[in-house]
Amino acid sequence: MTPETLIYAFTFPVLGVFLGLVYKGIDRRFSARLTSRIGPPIRQPFWDVGKLLLKETVVPENAIAWIFNAMPIVSFAASMTLLLYIPFGVLKAPLEGYGDLIVILYLLTLQSLAMAIGGFASGSPFSSVGAQREMVLMMSYEMPLATVIVGFAMLYRSFSLTTIASTPVWGVAGPLAAMGVLLLLIALLAVTPAELAKLPFDIAEAETEICEGMLAEYSGRNLALFYLSDAVRGFAMAALEVVLFFPFTLTSILNLGLTGTAYYVIEALWFLFKVLVIYLLAITLVRTSFARFRIEQASRVFWVYVNIIALVGLVLVWLGV
């Protein structure tokens, strides 16, 4: 492990939390504007976290306290680790070589799992119903998500994200495989709201049905950790989509001869812009234009429609390689 890696390992999480919260703020503002409201200031999520950290952390009487308290930390740690696997623009991922797409898949699952276990451990009926729903939902969307990753592995003969980021997928794939990749993109975009527990797939947290479900009993510091990991996960998921499907650098598009600091800064801003666009399209726009599904409807959407799209995409990629 080089000192460079260590610096990355410390700066990335801090940067990730900051960006996650900023994107959450933008998301709330944009969503408000779409529904003819003014919306909160963009710094609102920071205030929210600050407020939660000041508040008392209540553990319910019939909860299994250590699991209940441990799960927010697991979730937060998983999202922090997730950040270290995603190449930030032209920079390499800090933990590149120590893991790949498969690990990312596990880390994404780990967060949902931590929330579900925390919900079960809280002993509240709302949380239990929410956790059951989360498990069902996870079983539904994991398959298309895995299919997307298998498709990429087939295309690159590698699971390394940095390899994928350095050579845009649309250049590697032939016309048939490119169509397959397009279908995989659609499948991944459909999975995104479910993965992040956003409408129309926020079934496990349905506010009007089960009072935020798994998070019903969480408060104070524990809730702040879940809030942060949710923010970071939103950013990471959008970043992952950018890395997988739109890794074009500004330099390669415009043939700029940038060097040194300017190169890194401009590329970083370009990367953030791409992530923002994906974030707003795949999360904000979707969550403002859909009603919540029932759990069996959501399962049908993933098991039937999204799965078919993903599998057809995989077959096309396989034929095109």
Binding site: S36, F126, E209
Partner: protein
């Protein structure tokens, strides 16, 4: 292995409920296997207060029974009081009352559409519908001076006139809502997710609706042709041939689910617009009050001995008032209110049984429940199940306060 059962307490405070009521559900996974509805959390003793006041004060008190449709109870009150007193409002006042009643219906229906969208997580639709509703509240403010609790009705007439300048504003509003309602119909009736969430949910058959005494749009959605405006016409409705809106007239069959209710309410908005337009065109000239002098009105009430039952078709269903004047006081000696939610809440328990947890908010919302209309009586029982009388309850309350003060060491 037996399935684990969870006990999900919905209410008295719950995000799906805007007012307190308790639905106790036992669930197996997502399925509800046992359900109990408890009410009586919003009892305010308004009827009792009304019996202590004079009739005009009681009229304004009746406006406070419902939080949303503040005209339904005064409307039923004035209709009933006029019957008991044997007076009739002048024709122009009758038309104005009908116009305000129908404006009220439109805003209540749009409000419901927003609420039901919110219950299924469709907040964009909530904001859109409520933004559209603002125009109507502006018109109500123009006509009466208030956005809610208009205080414009009077026994034997109305207190404010609809002037020529108002007529143009109302007509503009009508053309705006004709377009807006067309858009709403497109959104609500053809959105696939809305359809998926409401088709077959809260399905009430015609037989069940009649057995459970459902009223208003709930009964009409189940195919029961029932509407006070059609069955017992009053005021300007007597001149208009109002026909109850039932799904079989629109699509040929009534399934009685939440989707049908949406449809009934959307088409009722059109009907209300028609009625307002008719009333504006045909409104006769004349005075506004049968007895313009309040002192004379109260004197007449003090001389009158009589009772009456009157009803008004509120947006949620029929509101029935019973008033008795005993000839000694200038207010009602007996005043009894039956609100539509009281009948409609009966449908919750049979509909929730066997439904899914995800359907609770929709089943709860589809009747447009109004708890503050609903809670006419509060019964308190002790540990042995005996009913506690008010004096004992007061004594117990004082004792408890004293005990808490002692525990905390608080002194006056």
């Amino acid at each position: 292995m037996a399935k684990t059962q969870y006990y999900v307490p919905v209410g008295p405070i719950h995000p799906a409920l805007k007012e307190p009521i308790r639905v106790e559900a036992r669930v197996e996974g997502e399925k509800i296997v046992e359900v109990d509805v408890k009410r009586g959390f919003a009892h305010r003793g308004i009827e009792y207060m009304g019996m202590k006041r004079n009739a005009i004060q009681t009229l304004y008190l009746s406006e406070r029974i419902c939080g949303i449709c503040s005209i339904s109870h005064p409307y039923a009150f004035v209709v009933t009081a006029e019957k008991a007193l044997g007076i009739e409002a002048p024709p122009r006042a009758q038309y104005i009352r009908t116009i305000i009643g129908e404006l009220e219906r439109i805003h209540s229906h749009i409000l419901w559409l927003g609420v039901v969208a919110h219950e299924m997580g469709f907040d964009s639709l909530l904001f859109w519908t409520w933004k559209g509703r603002e125009r109507l509240l502006d018109i109500l403010e123009l006509l009466t001076g208030n956005r809610i609790n208009y205080s414009v009705f009077m026994i034997g007439g109305v207190r404010r006139d609809i002037k020529e300048s108002h007529v143009k504003a109302i007509k503009d509003m009508i053309s705006y809502y004709r377009i807006f309602n067309k858009e709403m119909k497109e959104v609500f009736l053809s959105d696939p997710v809305y359809k998926a969430r409401t088709r077959g949910v809260a399905q009430l058959s015609k037989k069940m609706a009649l057995e459970l005494n459902a009223v208003g749009p709930v009964a009409r959605a189940a195919g029961v042709r029932m509407d006070i405006r059609q069955d017992i016409p009053y005021d300007a409705y007597a001149d208009i041939d109002v026909r109850a809106v039932v799904p079989q007239d629109i699509v040929g069959e009534a399934r009685g689910d939440a989707y049908d209710i949406t449809m009934v309410r959307l088409y009722e908005i059109d009907q209300s617009l028609d009625i307002i337009e008719y009333c504006l065109d045909e409104m006769p000239e004349g005075k506004l009050m049968a007895i313009p002098n309040y002192v004379a009105l109260l004197a007449k009430i003090r001389r009158t001995q009589g009772e009456a039952i009157g009803a008004h078709e509120a947006p949620r269903g029929e509101v029935i008032h019973y008033i008795k004047f005993d000839g000694k006081r200038d207010g009602p000696s007996v005043w009894k209110v039956i609100a539509p939610s009281y009948n409609n809440i009966n449908t919750w328990a049979p509909l929730l049984l066997g439904a899914e947890v995800a359907d609770i908010p929709i089943v709860v919302a589809y009747i447009d429940p109004c708890m503050c209309c609903n809670d006419r009586i509060a019964v308190v029982r002790d540990e042995d199940g005996r009913i506690i009388d008010p004096a004992t309850l007061h004594r117990k309350a004082v004792e408890k306060t004293k005990r808490i003060k002692d525990e905390l060491g608080v002194r006056e």
